[in-house]
């Protein structure tokens, strides 16, 4: 491989024009009419910077994860690197062909058979005919749908469809492989197969770019990571630091939400305060969230409360909607409420609670209303080390019985 980096990006920006108001013209006729009425007025747009002045270099043989919250510009970055859309400013140098897998099964046509689709999709992704023919058997074996090769893919189960589509992309011989969230599909076994395939790609000296929300995936596959925040590159380097930034971003947004007037929601009714009754709890202990809601005599009707309990990776572990347990409150009286969770047992770590007040719409949405810490101990009677409990999102009160 040459000494040049696989990917070199300098001063990259992407700006989208978005119409300013709700009365943006929908048809050419409308906009023509408007032009006639106000011939001198320029159409008004807001500029939205999806990416701002990004610089980075990725060497050969690296698997680089791109993390960030929704709307941080991850997918836009990937789309620009794969030349699907063009940047508004900046320079990109790519050291080889880029194979992209932004969505499983793009270019698959439901009416065509599996065999035909492999060829069509392979060509689309940039493989030459000979290349496909040479690796055809490998592709088919990887996908495990060999029996159904001459069946139109519209009759495939969604799992088979995805497996075949991924198999084609995984056998791309492009020097750079860009993958967006595709591992969220397929069963666990297939996911593991895909991960190891991508690891092989990186090991063979090629470069992998991976966008993912799943911290687990990024940790297990990537050798470096980029953290994006609102279109800006905050960190490029070790995976651990990037993921710390990512986790941190959930805490930062909770500080912004402390001021009720800055929170989303109609504001007709707001939470006054919220806290966990104990800052630190044991995994199997009951968790109690206490909160207070103000009054609004004009509102009428009854409202309900909802709470999301999120772990450090930003995964909502449970949603506690008060409608499910028949808890409705009248807004003409101040509410001092509490939410009690007997189950599930939570894994050690920091948890944030998002609180919502809703009637027909959302009255108040308070992300990160409060946090609590679960102690690093195991609630199981015979546990001596963490072995046997690393997997799973929560702990559970389980038992085995035998004859």
């Amino acid at each position: 491989m040459p000494n040049d980096p696989a990917i070199s990006v300098r001063g990259l920006s992407k700006t989208y024009r978005i119409a300013r108001s709700a009365d943006a013209p929908n048809t050419a006729a409308e906009s023509a009419l408007r032009r006639l009425r106000h011939p001198l007025q320029r159409a008004e747009y807001d500029m939205f910077d999806a990416l701002k002045n990004i610089d980075f270099e990725i060497p050969w043989g690296e698997a680089c994860g791109i993390v960030g919250r929704n709307g941080a510009g991850k997918s836009t970055l990937l789309k620009i690197l794969t030349r699907i859309t063009s940047p508004s400013a900046g320079r990109i140098e790519l050291g080889g062909r880029v194979g992209s897998l932004l969505e499983v099964g793009t270019g698959f046509h439901p009416e065509l058979t599996g065999r035909e689709n492999v060829y069509l999709n392979g060509t689309l992704l940039g493989m030459r005919r000979k290349e496909i023919a040479r690796r055809f058997d490998e592709i088919v074996e990887f996908s495990g749908v060999s029996r159904f090769l001459d069946t139109p893919v519209k009759r495939y189960s969604s799992g088979m469809y995805v497996r075949l589509a991924f198999a084609v992309a995984a056998h791309l011989e492009s020097e750079i492989l860009a993958v967006d969230e595709v591992l969220a599909v397929g069963d666990a076994e297939f996911q593991a197969k895909c991960l190891s395939k991508m690891r092989d790609v990186a090991r063979s000296g090629r470069t992998v770019l991976l966008v993912s929300h799943q911290v687990q995936t990024v940790m297990s596959l990537c050798t470096s990571a980029i953290y994006l925040q609102r279109g800006e590159l905050v960190h490029h380097g070790s995976v651990g630091t990037a993921l710390d930034h990512y986790k941190q971003s959930f805490r930062i947004s909770s500080q912004e939400h402390a001021d009720p007037s800055l929170r989303p929601g109609s504001g007709e009714l707001r939470f006054l305060h919220a806290q966990a009754s104990q800052d630190v709890v044991e995994p199997a202990e009951e968790k109690v969230i206490e909160f207070a809601v103000g009054t609004n005599a004009d509102l009428g009707g009854k409202y309900f409360v909802s709470a999301h309990i999120n772990n450090e990776d930003g995964v909502t572990v449970v949603q506690c909607d008060s409608r499910l347990v028949g808890f409705w409150v009248s807004p003409d009286q101040r509410l001092e409420g509490s939410l009690r969770l007997a189950t599930p047992w939570l894994r050690p770590g920091r948890y944030t609670v998002d609180l919502f007040l809703c009637k027909t719409g959302i009255l108040d949405a308070w992300e990160g209303a409060c946090t609590f810490q679960v102690l690093p101990m195991l609630p199981y009677p015979q546990a001596t080390s963490t072995e046997g409990s690393e997997r799973g999102v929560v702990f559970s009160d389980f038992d085995y019985k035998g004859n």
Binding site: T82, R83, I84, E111, T123
Partner: protein
């Protein structure tokens, strides 16, 4: 890739049909038959000595190429929106590949047409050798127009309503279903300035041994075809950068 795309179109169109490729011949034949009955049998328009069905079939052969490429190419980008926004490849292949399936149709219909020539004992003469040239000109014009429509349709979906009406209008405004000699003198100039008329006359010259169109029309058709194709390609490439954002 062009071939692969084109083959996809061809396979797709006749999958799950009983008659398959027979439709390629049947469609223009039925239109040509209707034209022969209406214009030749009912309206008694002149056909220049050839059986009317041959006259209208020759017209439909050429027309099928134009209308096929223009209408399929114009909707091809929007129809493949998922591809455009998810994979990178030279975008121009999408509208261009429609020409592939249209050419397949043309060849199949041409074979049938030649059979008809034998049945009616018509000899097209040496001019038939020029047929590939006329087909190339027609494809250039059609692709040029198709590129323009396709790239405009990404932004303005109005095009999808305009194209069928425009193609339909042009069908009757060009000497497809009738010969140019049937046109009254006061409208004649309207037909004479239409590049499609020139190419249709060239087709009839090569297929039916009709008299050759004037030299200026032949030269004109070459210039116009190349110009339209280049302009269409230029416009397409200019708009290409924005496709993924607008589609």
């Amino acid at each position: 890739m062009f071939v692969r795309f084109g083959m996809r179109d061809v396979t797709l169109r006749y999958r799950q049909t009983v008659l398959g490729m027979v439709w390629v011949v049947l469609q223009p034949l039925i239109s040509a038959g209707v034209f022969a009955v209406v214009f030749g049998g009912v309206a008694h328009l002149p056909s220049g000595g050839t059986p009317y069905i041959l006259l209208s079939m020759a017209g439909m052969l050429a027309w099928g190429v134009f209308s096929g490429v223009v209408s399929r190419a114009s909707s091809s980008l929007v129809g493949n929106a998922a591809l455009i926004s998810k994979v990178y490849f030279p975008r121009i292949l999408v509208p261009l590949s429609t020409a592939y399936s249209v050419c397949v149709d043309f060849v199949v219909s041409l074979v049938f047409f030649v059979a008809l020539l034998f049945v009616y004992r018509v000899n097209p003469g040496w001019a038939v050798l020029l047929l590939p040239a006329w087909l190339t000109l027609l494809l250039l014009i059609s692709c040029g127009v198709g590129f323009v429509c396709a790239s405009l349709m990404v932004k303005y979906r109005d095009i999808q309503y305009i194209v069928p009406v425009a193609v339909q209008t042009l069908l009757y405004a060009s000497p497809v279903a009738y010969s140019l000699s049937a046109v009254p003198d006061r409208y004649r100039w309207l037909f004479e300035i239409n590049p499609l008329t020139w190419i249709l006359q060239e087709f009839r010259w090569s297929l039916l041994n009709h008299s050759a169109p004037p030299l200026w029309q032949i030269a004109g058709s070459i210039v116009v075809a190349i110009a339209v194709f280049l302009l269409g390609t230029a416009l397409f490439e200019q708009m290409e950068r924005g496709f993924a954002d607008f589609i």
